[in-house]
């Protein structure tokens, strides 16, 4: 660790990074455009909830449609593009060789985003399906599947063709996410859209898909970033690393069994809900191991990247415990069907997933471009906005949910009064979402600024700790 910064820079950025520059920037740029779009729509939706007049006359922006577009843009736009970029880059670095078939990544990205635009236009004009996390119309689903494959294959190849025998936790999570999503997505398409199940079986498939997409796809993508960044930046070995493998398989094998989490007390076999409750409890083991493994994140010594990662990890673990708590029947009876559930989703998506991605983006963009971020204050401002916005949004939605849950279960309170009681909370949530959006605009602007900069200051990296990640 006594190497001079210059020497470290040479070793820190290699052809692995620079060769993937444009494909990864394309993925990240698209991701951020979708993030901003979904942020704007989230703001519109929150306003519509307390002021239904907003855009009520516009059929494309009626609440049901705009909220579906918001969700779709977030998951298939922001989360998929950014998660793929980060996973590909990690796998190339940890595999020790530049990515192959980068042209396919570029073509796949263009195709994916084109299909998504088409799908969202479809939702806006009346082709939406009513499945959570799968509102996209039938005609774009096969396109998305093919596009995903072309983007993900180089990542899987980087893993199977890796030069190093040893593997790292970051790799397991990244490969799992790349490999599993197509299975989930194609089964869900078949059973919900092309040859739909009848009756409540639809709801069960949808529940399995949503929980699967979170625990087998988005959460692993985010964790891959965390397991890479924390040891890399702190330069410390991951403590209790032996448990990491068990924790990984726990998430994978138990995760999708939580599919009945939102169907407690619903018209489905009662064992589905029971298994969901048990699975949520079993997953606590996974969350605890993640917390123990990555606790070094709090010794970041001023690294901005690690600040994002630390917040993301706290949100991830807290979200896991909250899921287990609200899966209990006695709690679900109050929180089910309320803004509480929305607060939980936002904690997972904005709190855990996005924060970990922001951290990864701040880390990788200078490495693939070889340029330093143009403005440090801008990064700090984004951090402050993301932190405040997310906390305000999640806390107020959960607060709104508690009020709403209490009111709904008190049969004498009419709906007009419930709306009145929830309104202050939703107003505050709107403010939170606005702050969050502002922060994300800063990140998007910053990334485009970086990508456009030609002769900006070349990046100088701190002496990099010798290890890529912890040794297994």
């Amino acid at each position: 660790m006594t190497t001079a910064p210059q020497a470290a820079t040479a070793a820190e950025v290699t052809e692995i990074d620079t060769s993937a520059r444009w494909p990864l920037l394309l993925l990240l740029g698209s991701a951020l455009l979708w993030l901003v779009l979904s942020g704007i729509l989230a703001l519109v939706n929150l306003v519509q909830l307390h002021t239904p007049e907003l855009l009520a006359g516009c059929s494309a922006m009626t609440y049901g449609r705009s909220s579906a577009i918001q969700e779709t843009a977030f998951i298939y736009g922001w989360a998929a593009n950014s998660g793929l970029a980060v996973a590909l880059w990690l796998l190339a670095r940890l595999g020790g060789a530049p990515l192959r078939s980068l042209n396919w990544v570029v073509a796949g990205t263009l195709f994916w985003n084109f299909a998504l635009v088409l799908g969202i236009a479809g939702i806006a004009t009346g082709d939406m399906t009513s499945n959570a996390w799968l509102h996209l119309p039938a005609y774009v689903l096969p396109m998305l599947l093919v596009a995903y494959g072309t983007i993900a294959v180089p990542g899987v190849l980087a893993w199977t063709g890796r030069r190093k025998e040893m593997t790292f936790a970051a790799q397991w999570y990244a490969v799992a996410a790349l490999f599993l999503f197509p299975w989930l997505f194609s089964i869900a398409q078949m059973m919900l859209v092309f040859a739909p199940e009848r009756g409540v079986l639809q709801a069960l498939v949808a529940g399995w898909f949503v929980q699967g997409a979170w625990t087998l796809w988005l959460a692993p993508l985010a964790l891959a970033a965390a397991y890479y960044l924390v040891p890399k930046i702190t330069g410390r070995v991951i403590p209790s690393y032996d448990f990491a493998q068990l924790s990984f398989w726990t998430l994978l094998f138990v995760g999708a069994w939580t599919g009945g989490r939102h169907l407690i007390g619903g018209p489905v076999p009662a064992w589905v809900a029971t298994i969901a409750v048990v699975s949520c409890a079993l997953l606590l083991f996974h969350y605890i191991v993640v917390a123990v493994n990555l606790r070094g994140v709090f010794c970041g010594g001023g690294s901005t990247v690690l600040k994002f990662v630390a917040f993301g990890l706290v949100a991830y673990v807290a979200g896991g415990f909250l899921d287990a708590y609200t899966a209990m029947r006695g709690v679900a009876v109050h929180t089910q069907f309320t803004h509480f559930s929305e607060g939980q989703s936002q904690l997972a998506l904005n709190g855990a997933f996005s924060m970990l991605m922001y951290g990864a983006i701040y880390f990788l963009a200078p490495r693939i471009t070889g340029l330093a971020w143009p403005s440090v204050p801008l990064i700090r401002a984004h951090y402050a906005a993301a932190l405040t916005g997310t906390i305000v949004l999640v806390v107020t939605l959960i607060g709104a949910g508690c009020v709403q849950g209490h009111d709904l279960n008190t049969a004498s309170i009419p709906f007009a009064d419930i709306a009145g009681h929830v309104r202050p909370w939703l107003l505050a949530a709107t403010a939170g979402q606005a702050i969050l959006l502002l922060g994300n605009l800063l990140l998007a602007t910053h990334l485009f600024w970086l990508a456009a900069a030609k002769s900006a200051a070349p990046a100088v990296f701190d002496p990099a700790p010798a290890m890529e990640a912890s040794v297994s």
């Binding site: 909830l49 239904p52 007049e53 009520a56 006359g57 009626t62 049901g64 909220s67 579906a68 009346g126 082709d127 939406m128 399906t129 009513s130 959570a132 199977t160 040893m166 593997t167 397991w172 799992a176 490999f179 599993l180 299975w183 059973m191 739909p196 009848r198 009756g199 409540v200 079986l201 639809q202 709801a203 069960l204 498939v205 529940g207 699967g212 087998l216 493998q245 398989w249 994978l252 094998f253 995760g255 999708a256 069994w257 599919g259 009945g260 169907l263 619903g266 018209p267 009662a270 589905v272 298994i275 009876v333 069907f337 559930s341 929305e342 709904l408 279960n409 008190t410 709906f415 709306a419």
Partner: protein
């Protein structure tokens, strides 16, 4: 982790087992579920949706009404669904066997609609059409489901009692009419053998319905 094949096999099993358990498991249990034939009434329940209502279900789906409304009544001792008059019994899987696009919903910004067809507002179609035209508290107005048309000769019988420019009237579109027919068809009240309301004392049995 060193052996690529077992690793991928493990990944594959992770997704396959949960799918087999939850989806196929319920399929085995519910896949054969058929409408219940009532000898006394001489017809099967749930009744088939009239064609226009099935069209209305698509309108309900593409407008995303499920973002604010559930269609699933919980047991009388689980929440206040019964006390709110949303149904005397919990919804059961058989209620939905005929539905091509199930709309269970996950949010109750507005009331549950599983038994909406039995409520006074639903009985009078013209009142319900009018309801969709106006905003009610948190329920947005759906004016784009209506057309402003020039009055030629007599006023149309289905024109709304709503302010329109002189010489014009407000007419519900076909989509609005279909949506109303769908809402009127929502009526999960028939008591199947498995759907007898679970009262608090018998709550334990309800768990294994």
């Amino acid at each position: 982790m060193k052996n690529g094949f077992t690793f991928f096999l493990g990944l594959f099993l992770a997704v396959a087992l949960a799918w087999a358990g939850i989806v196929m498991g319920s399929h085995v249990q519910l896949g054969h579920l058929a409408p219940y034939f009532d000898e006394n009434e001489g017809k099967a329940f749930p009744e088939r949706m009239p064609g226009i209502a099935a069209q209305g279900q698509l309108v309900y789906q593409d407008l995303g009404c499920a973002a604010c409304h559930t269609q699933q009544v919980r047991r009388p001792d689980f929440g206040s669904d019964k006390a709110r008059g949303w149904g005397d019994r919990q919804s059961v899987a058989r209620d939905y066997v005929n539905q091509a696009h199930v709309q269970l919903g996950e949010s109750r910004v507005g009331p549950d609609l599983a038994t909406f067809g039995a409520r006074p507002l639903a009985v009078d179609a013209s009142r319900l059409i009018q309801y969709l035209y106006e905003q009610h508290g948190g329920m947005p107005a759906y004016r784009f489901l209506f057309e402003e048309r020039k009055i030629t000769g007599e006023r149309s019988a289905n024109a709304l009692k709503a302010a329109a420019p002189a010489g014009y009237e407000i007419i519900p579109s076909h989509r609005a009419v279909a949506l109303v027919a769908y809402l009127q068809s929502l009526n999960n009240v028939y008591e199947y053998p498995e759907a007898r309301p679970v009262e608090p004392a018998a709550a334990k049995e309800g768990e294994s319905k």
